[in-house]
């Protein structure tokens, strides 16, 4: 951790009004997307990527990171006011948030959600700032076998946690890996599965694919259900949490922030898991444990701190190893790649300036989120009332224009639509979507490193079984698969 570089990046952001404005737009947009049930943080980041195509990295990244850190918080607004978590990460917030709203304490719950989310987010970022350079120092010595084993582990974890059926997750991941082989072969440059189309020489562009899978498919689902916007009458009597509430919850907020960061750093374990673990721990350690679930402010503080800290944790494997911690960070990798940056250990060698822009942007974005959410809460509450008959077509338009804006190419527009249909059908048939995207990112990493290793070792697989790091990774992969199988077997026996 180089404080000089960090302060330089922080100064660059704070003295540039355009960057601050973009962070503000990103944060406000993220809260809106998160607050609307059915629109996920992943969709928010996917929809915003096209807005950054023409921007320099120092402008694009702060805006995207603003959405990234605020969309999870946005989910708490509908969780507290509507009893419907805006994002899966806000599921535990409902437990005490909605009872508080019913008691007429919605403003108190929302203010605590803002405070806890900000502190939790900052805890996650601080861990990320200090831990990721250390991990990257270790990872910089990795060679092809180690990178191949990391890709295999990353894919396995994501597949195992997405959906109820492990086979469907593996099928989804394998199809994603096959899709990643479309285009020119990375070693010999031979065109594979391109059907003679030059548009496919570089494979499918990541951004149209992720917009289609995560945003268009959700818009089709919105078309199905015809949900009307719900009128919410909730007056914000205060703008900030009281000192009494802060004193009462501070220890839960910090502890939950650490829990969220650690869970977030495990690829695949997302905010929904972290918020329940933090809620359980807060309930266990609180003097008021019997009152949890009846509408107490401590019950809002713990999950909100944890789910926002997950972002910082999930960024650690993404930045240091190039392995996304969850679907949102997978989308963020796509955004970075658009701007010519490949996350992974080499990023700390080749793009140190960008690394520190990311660190500083996340710190600033969390602080901006505190003020935007506190002062703009009455407006965000009104946003929940927007009818889906307006919102859904707007999402479609942004997706299609986003696909077009990438290269001014209609092939990308049709890609967006095609993957939207694929994503929709996958949702209908309970096939998990995330493994496809992660396989598209990790597939080339797995193939290139496996083939490079085989070239260097004259076709021998021995390096995979002699490197201690590979052995640890493969052991972890096997343990994950076996424990997941045992858990599913136990669940099945329990249900019968």
């Amino acid at each position: 951790m180089d404080f000089g570089l960090f302060l330089n990046a922080l100064g660059g952001i704070l003295t540039d009004p355009i960057v601050l404005l973009l962070i503000f737009i990103g944060v406000a947009g993220g809260i809106v997307v998160g607050a609307l049930p059915g629109l996920t943080a992943t969709m928010g980041v996917a929809l915003m990527i096209p807005f950054t195509f023409g921007m320099e990295v120092r402008y694009a990244l702060p805006m995207l990171l603003g959405i990234f850190c605020s969309a999870v918080f946005g989910g708490s607004i509908s969780a507290i006011l509507l009893n419907t978590p805006g994002t899966p990460s806000a599921a535990a917030t409902v437990l005490d948030g909605y009872p508080m709203a019913k008691k007429g304490e919605a403003a108190r719950a929302l203010n605590m959600a803002v405070f806890a989310s900000t502190v939790g987010g900052l805890v996650g970022v601080i861990f990320m700032i200090f831990l990721s350079p250390q991990i990257s120092k270790m990872a910089i010595n990795f060679n092809s076998p180690e990178f191949f084993s990391i890709a295999v582990l990353g894919l396995t974890i994501i597949i195992l946690i997405s959906g109820d059926s492990m086979i469907k997750g593996f099928i989804s991941g394998t199809i994603g890996m096959l899709m990643s082989t479309i285009g020119l072969d990375p070693i010999q440059g031979y065109p594979r599965f391109t059907f003679g189309s030059t548009n496919l020489y570089n494979g499918f562009e990541l951004v149209p694919v992720l917009i289609g899978l995560f945003a268009v498919s959700e818009a089709f689902v919105c078309c199905e259900s015809l949900v009307k916007g719900e009128k919410v009458n909730s007056k914000m009597t205060r703008l900030f949490s009281s000192l009494t509430d802060i004193k009462l919850c501070l220890k839960h907020v910090i502890k939950s922030g650490i829990i969220g960061t650690l869970i977030g750093a495990i690829p695949g374990a997302g905010g929904d898991i972290a918020c329940f673990v933090a809620y359980g721990e807060a309930k266990r350690s609180s003097k008021n444990s019997m009152e949890f679930g009846t509408g107490i402010v401590e019950g809002v503080s713990a999950p909100e701190s944890a789910n926002n800290a997950v972002g910082g944790g999930a960024m650690i494997p993404m930045l240091t190893l190039g392995v996304p911690g969850d679907p949102v960070t997978a989308v963020l990798i796509g955004a970075l790649m658009i701007h010519g940056i490949q996350p992974g250990p080499l990023m700390y060698r080749d793009h140190m300036d960008v690394v520190y822009v990311i660190f500083a942007s996340l710190v600033v974005a969390n602080i901006v989120m505190f003020f935007v959410a506190s002062l703009g809460m009455p407006l965000f509450i009104k946003v929940i009332s927007i009818g889906r008959e307006i919102l859904t077509p707007v999402i479609f338009i942004l997706c299609i224009v986003g696909g077009f804006a990438l290269r001014n190419n209609f092939f990308d527009v049709w890609t967006v639509l095609a993957f939207g249909v694929i994503g929709y059908l996958m949702q209908k048939t309970k096939m998990p979507i995330s493994p496809i995207l992660l396989s598209l990112i990790l597939g080339p990493m797995a193939e290139q490193n496996l083939r490079r290793m085989l070239i260097v070792s004259n076709g021998s697989y021995a390096p995979l079984f002699t490197s201690p790091i590979c052995l640890v990774m493969f052991a972890a992969t096997i343990i994950m698969i076996v424990s997941s199988l045992l858990k599913r077997r136990k669940d099945t026996l329990g249900n019968t």
């Binding site: 096959l178 859904t392 077509p393 479609f396």
Partner: protein, 154 residues
């Protein structure tokens, strides 16, 4: 979901068979490299095994989703299919009509599809969104959106 899982398994096996057929014509190994078809071939074999497992579970009734009912013909899915058709028409006429007119028509028809019947609101929102997005992408973000029929005006 038995029949759907068998269908998905069948599609997966068909994709894998196509991959295996295609890679058989790829150039053979050069030097120490395992060849351009090595990785896709490995994945295709894996896909066949996985799809066969899914079909096996579906037939035996041991799939975790065996009790999930998938009804692909409901009013909701029909609406989603019409939305897809409108989206396809939107993309087809994107260049010809130009972004502003095409988007306003798209917005209006989608709002109608989603049961909005306030004509004044539909008209104003359609025009507002199409002009707003055009200004944002065309002028602020410098995207070259087609002007179409309004080429002389925009």
């Amino acid at each position: 979901m038995k029949s759907e899982e068998i269908t998905i398994g069948g599609i997966g096996i068909a994709i894998a068979a196509y991959v295996l057929y295609t890679v058989s014509s790829y150039p053979q190994v050069k030097g120490n490299d395992v060849g351009v078809g090595f990785f896709p071939k490995m994945l295709a074999v894996l896909l066949i095994i996985l799809c066969a497992c899914m079909i096996f579970h579906a037939v035996r009734g041991t799939s975790p989703h065996k009790d999930v009912q998938v009804n692909l013909i409901t009013p909701g899915t029909k609406r989603a299919a019409v939305a897809l058709l409108i989206c396809a028409l939107y993309c087809i006429f994107f260049k010809l009509l130009g972004f502003v007119i095409d988007t306003a028509l798209f917005m209006f028809s989608m709002m109608f599809l989603l049961k909005s019947r306030n004509w004044m609101q539909m008209t104003l929102v359609s025009l507002g969104v199409s002009i707003g997005v055009y200004v944002l992408f065309g002028y602020v973000l410098n995207t070259n959106l087609p002007a179409g029929l309004l080429a002389g005006l925009l």
